[in-house]
């Protein structure tokens, strides 16, 4: 009887707590108590230990153990990598094929390849001194487009800096990419930032900033605002496996869980943070392994499998929006390009390693094979599209390059909502300086706006 009672208590309180039935626990425990007093022949020792059945600490819901045992980091084999198609584009399990149809998949493919084409041309343009800096997205196009396609257009995106494919998918015009990279007078950002620091409120893509990981707690705040607004918008926050080491990442995970925010954390684990390989970035089970520790449902996916990324993001979005909670996706991929135009990765990794990923496991080729199997794509279409995209990119490029920079006086605006007296004085001082020394400044490259600036 006593063992049965102890088992019943333990079972009820374990499961009731899991199912959130605190009142049930109390009621059942009280009933057990009264049953016990009817039938009990026990000594008072058992009554005293009744309150010691489970720990009552406010900080933990775990049970007791009398074994001195540490939970080792290699407790399990690591969260497995979800995939839908193999490297040859064959669907492994038909019921996992999202069956998006030709139009959507071709759009996915075109977004990824247009991005790739733009990357090649812009990288070259930096080498030629035409733009100051560039970052390519080689190898990670699947993570961008697979996830972007699973979101609603009004879901807010916070990125790190290697997510241009999301903008491609959402229809950010080539001209706008170029204008930002060239810092001309059509740049939405008013030419204040280095290239690839894109941002557009029309497409719900928050402007990129260089400090790593800072976007993460901000994404949580925006998600909380959306929850209160009840618009059923969600926020997606992209970050690399390196940025995940920043304190802001820890802050974001913890806050998103405690504040119950409709948010997708999307980690692009591409193997390197500049030259630092993952073996020097973390020792645990990557980033996905951290999620459950914060109370966040987590999944690891093959980031080079665009359809797997799509499925995972779609499912994550449902959970986030329907249940108001954060979800973590770790997309495993490989950074085929250098970190940026300031990097030469042959200094820290073998060309063979890069070639391997480029030739055997590339998101673009895998999706092309998937499409080819279905008769949606062929060599002729490929050649035609390649030519067209190159032409489009070069046209945009030429246009952007010709444009002047914005009026230099815009250096002073948007520091505050309105120009302050102090800034007005500094602007006037510089204007006066230029009347005397203007020849020594690159004024001819800058547009001139008539009238005062504001």
């Amino acid at each position: 009887m006593i063992r049965g009672e102890m088992f019943l208590r333990h079972f009820v309180s374990c499961n009731a707590k899991r199912l959130g039935l605190r009142e049930e626990v109390t009621r059942i425990e009280r009933n057990i108590g009264s049953l016990k007093s009817l039938f009990s022949t026990t000594s008072s020792q058992y009554e005293d230990s009744a309150s010691e059945e489970r720990p009552e600490f406010p900080g933990s819901r775990a049970g007791w153990t009398d074994k001195l045992e540490f939970v080792k980091p290699d407790l399990y084999d690591g969260i497995p990598v979800y995939r839908v198609i193999d490297r040859k584009g064959n669907v492994l399990r038909p019921d996992q094929d999202p069956n998006l149809g030709e139009e959507v998949v071709v759009k996915m493919y075109k977004s990824m390849t247009l991005l790739n084409t733009m990357d090649r041309i812009m990288y070259e343009s930096q080498r030629q001194g035409r733009i100051s800096f560039y970052m390519t997205n080689y190898g990670e196009e699947g993570t961008h487009v697979g996830s972007a396609a699973a979101l609603n257009p009004d879901d807010l995106v916070y990125g790190q800096y290697r997510e241009a494919g999301i903008l491609m998918w959402r229809g950010f015009p080539l001209d706008r990419f170029m204008n930002q990279c060239y810092g001309n007078d059509e740049d939405l950002g008013k030419a204040r930032q280095m290239p690839v620091h894109y941002g557009t409120s029309a497409l719900n893509f928050v402007t990129i900033s260089s400090p790593l990981g800072t976007q993460m707690p901000q994404a949580v705040g925006s998600a909380y605002a959306f929850k209160r607004d009840q618009t059923r918008r969600c926020v997606i926050c992209y970050f690399g496996e390196g940025a995940a080491s920043e304190g802001d990442a820890h802050a974001a995970f913890n806050f998103s869980a405690t504040l119950e925010c409709p948010l997708i954390f999307f980690c692009r684990n591409n193997g390197y943070a500049i030259s630092t390989p993952t073996s020097e970035q973390y020792r645990g089970d990557g980033i996905a392994g951290r999620g459950p520790a914060y109370g966040i449902s987590s999944i690891r996916v093959d980031g080079n499998d665009t359809l797997a990324v799509y499925n995972a993001t779609k499912a994550a979005r449902e959970m986030a929006v329907n249940e108001n909670r954060p979800v973590l996706i770790e997309a495993m991929t490989y950074r085929i390009g250098h970190h940026s135009t300031s990097d030469d990765s042959s200094a820290y990794r073998s060309v063979d390693e890069v070639r391997f990923w480029d030739s055997t496991d590339h998101p673009i080729s895998r999706l092309r094979l998937y499409m080819t199997h279905r008769g949606w794509w062929d060599e002729a279409k490929e050649a035609n599209w390649k030519g067209k995209s190159k032409t489009k990119v070069l046209e945009s490029f030429a246009k952007a390059e010709k444009r002047k920079k914005p009026d230099w006086r815009y250096m002073f605006t948007d520091v505050y909502e309105k120009l302050t007296p102090g800034l007005e004085a500094q602007l006037a001082e510089m204007e006066s300086h230029l009347t005397k020394y203007g020849d020594h400044y690159p004024l001819k490259h800058f547009a001139k706006r008539e009238g005062p600036i504001e």
Binding site: G189, T207, S209, G422
Partner: protein, 322 residues
């Protein structure tokens, strides 16, 4: 109302008048360690007034994200001494959000509040006045009230401002500064200083708790030195009111600036540099700064550390006898 009640009242009005407004930080739910948020969760709801985990970078990051998404965010940092984990979010993110995005985005609806300054026994980590670090960052507004009336009006202005604001609340004033605070909704303009006492001989400039010290100094100067002092409460540290200060100095020709924060690169240095540039030919004596020493804020040595009325009075004597 006392100072903390005025802060509470301002936030109550903000929450009542703006349905997007939320207030959060460590321990705000039960009322806050200084009672500034007393009753606000009960009144406005758990989704609007809530505790966060213990993480200042998270608190400010959260606030930025809320503001970007259109919510008015009041982020409380428990002590100004602990604001530094959020330094990156404030300096690299909040202050630059509008500028770097070309005004595509902004976090103007963020206000960060933190208790600051000496309290008698706070020592290194419960007494700091960090305004200078943030005044040096373009894009932030830094505001410090001297009492209950100014606290309410300035806080409402900060909350409603379209620029991210840091609002420092001198904690020693929370209970002691009692004033007849209007119960209605009112704002005090940002970027404007206030002349509390008019005078002809010496301009005294301070903010927060120090303003009360300077008022006493003005009285002592009158009684003991027959010197008439003009006392200015700067209120907004950044952007600050050049016009009021410069006009005053052009009138008096003598300046004493006082602040609790350490001397080197304290905000007094900025004031002194600007004043000497704009008022050089009007100055009758070098500008005096009476400040905390270049040490961490000590514990039992606090009476020796602070720019008290005797050190300030000496500053007045120095400029007058130059």
């Amino acid at each position: 109302m006392n100072f903390y009640q005025a802060v509470n009242n301002a936030m109550d009005i903000a929450l009542a008048s703006d349905p997007t407004c939320v207030l959060f930080g460590e321990d705000v739910a039960f009322g806050g360690v200084f009672r500034c948020s007393l009753g606000l969760q009960d009144k406005h709801g758990k989704d609007r007034v809530f505790n966060t985990p213990l993480c200042e970078q998270g608190i400010v990051g959260l606030g930025i994200g809320l503001a970007v998404a259109g919510s008015t965010a009041i982020a409380e940092i428990q002590f100004a001494d602990y604001i530094y984990p959020a330094f990156d979010q404030l300096v690299n993110e909040a202050s630059k959000f509008r500028y770097r995005s070309g005004n595509e985005f902004n976090c103007g609806k963020l206000t960060v509040r933190a208790p600051c300054s000496a309290v008698g026994h706070g020592a290194l980590y419960h007494s700091q006045s960090p305004e200078a670090y943030f005044a040096h960052t373009p894009g932030l507004r830094v505001v410090i009230p001297r009492g209950a009336i100014t606290a309410k009006g300035l806080l409402l202005s900060c909350i409603r401002s379209n620029d991210p604001c840091i609002f420092f609340e001198p904690k020693v004033l929370y209970r002691s500064a009692v004033e007849q605070v209007p119960t209605k909704d009112y704002e005090i303009p940002l970027g404007k200083a206030e002349i509390l006492v008019e005078g002809d001989n010496v301009t005294l400039i301070g903010w927060g708790t120090q303003v009360h010290v300077l008022r006493e100094v003005a009285q002592l100067a009158q009684d003991r030195l027959n010197v008439s002092c003009e006392v200015i409460d700067l209120m907004s540290i950044q952007p600050w009111d050049y016009e009021t200060v410069i006009n005053s100095v052009k009138k008096t020709g003598r300046v004493v600036i006082a602040h609790e924060a350490p001397l080197t690169c304290g905000f007094g240095a900025e004031l002194a540099a600007t004043v000497q540039k704009e008022c050089f030919l009007h100055l009758e004596a070098p500008i005096q700064r009476v400040t905390g020493f270049d040490t961490p804020f000590p514990h039992v040595q606090e009476p020796f550390y602070l720019p008290d009325k005797w050190r300030c009075l000496e500053g007045v004597r120095t400029v007058v006898e130059f």
